[in-house]
Symmetry: C3
Subunit: 135 residues, 3 copies
């Protein structure tokens, strides 16, 4: 079992593609056929297995989230860290904290247009951890 | 570690139960006690662990998705493949790309009324892959 | 591979923290470095990896779910078990049935403010199973 912890500095809300880092970790593990778990130990950032070709898809996903969980919604009781605090928890709840991907031929067996993204849900930059485990 | 790739031809939007195929893969693996990962390498089809008894539950889940991510929503920038293109990505985001199920006594340890479904989110038929790994 | 099945009696709708039980299972497994899968074999209860410090976060998550999937919504066809029946399936769909957490130093490697919760989505008390597997 091989583990690599990624440290990702975000520039505020948005999707950051991790596919290259995950592929590198799988390569370094020397596992030819197996599985790879990606885990985010945060509650205001999460994972997305999403379309990696057209950037307009990511803009539309972002816009969807902004509509169903708008910043500064007065119905939220919790706003200790600002108007984007509670929406970040809702967005995390609606997406993933862990994804398990097959490994074949020494590579993560993702779809042709499928990428793995870290989604920063806070508007301010943060330093995020991502734990990749290959076995 | 045992792997089986399922190829599923969909007839357009809807839920297709995979429980039988997953149970067969677990049986073929000869793993008595372990785990089973189900993974979908697509961004407009996904997985659901849902109620498998009353079909009205699946119709209501479908109706819910149609309400929060309606086809042809003019607010979407991305519609390269038609009015159901971007809603399919949103539905994928809100459900799962991977599920890890315990295996006990040579069978996936699902709940009594719990089935694993492939959810085709596009309105046109597609050929979809599902990767089952047992260990 | 180590397995422990938790039996949780809920008191109706709400979030019950499982972090202590999962940490205990990982400890009992004697696995120092590995992975831990948490699985819920139900379709009206699910898992959340969420903020564990301020209870107002959980109240706001609950309120969000009540807004997007209100009890007694007349558009639901399925209401065999009451007005909270179909909303419970929608809430399960939008959250997780399985989460895979890294194990390091004999403990689940969760974030500082990240807890694992069982979310009871039905308004009546239920007895729920949670399957923890460590390897």
């Amino acid at each position: 079992m091989f583990r690599r912890e990624l440290s990702v500095t975000t520039t505020g809300r948005g999707l950051i593609e991790l596919t290259g880092d995950i592929t590198a970790a799988v390569g370094a593990s020397a596992v030819a056929d197996g599985l790879c778990n990606v885990f985010v130990p945060h509650t205001s950032a999460s994972l997305l297995a999403g379309e990696n070709w057209d950037p307009s898809v990511r803009r539309d996903l972002e816009a969807f989230m902004s509509r169903i969980a708008p910043d500064g919604d007065p119905r939220h009781e919790h706003d200790a860290e600002g108007p984007d605090d509670m929406p970040a928890h809702i967005r995390t709840m609606l997406t993933q904290s862990s994804i398990v991907i097959p490994v074949a031929g020494g590579k993560p067996q993702l779809g042709t247009w499928q990428g793995i993204y870290l989604w920063e849900h806070r508007t301010a930059p943060h330093r995020r951890q991502v734990v990749v485990t290959v076995w």
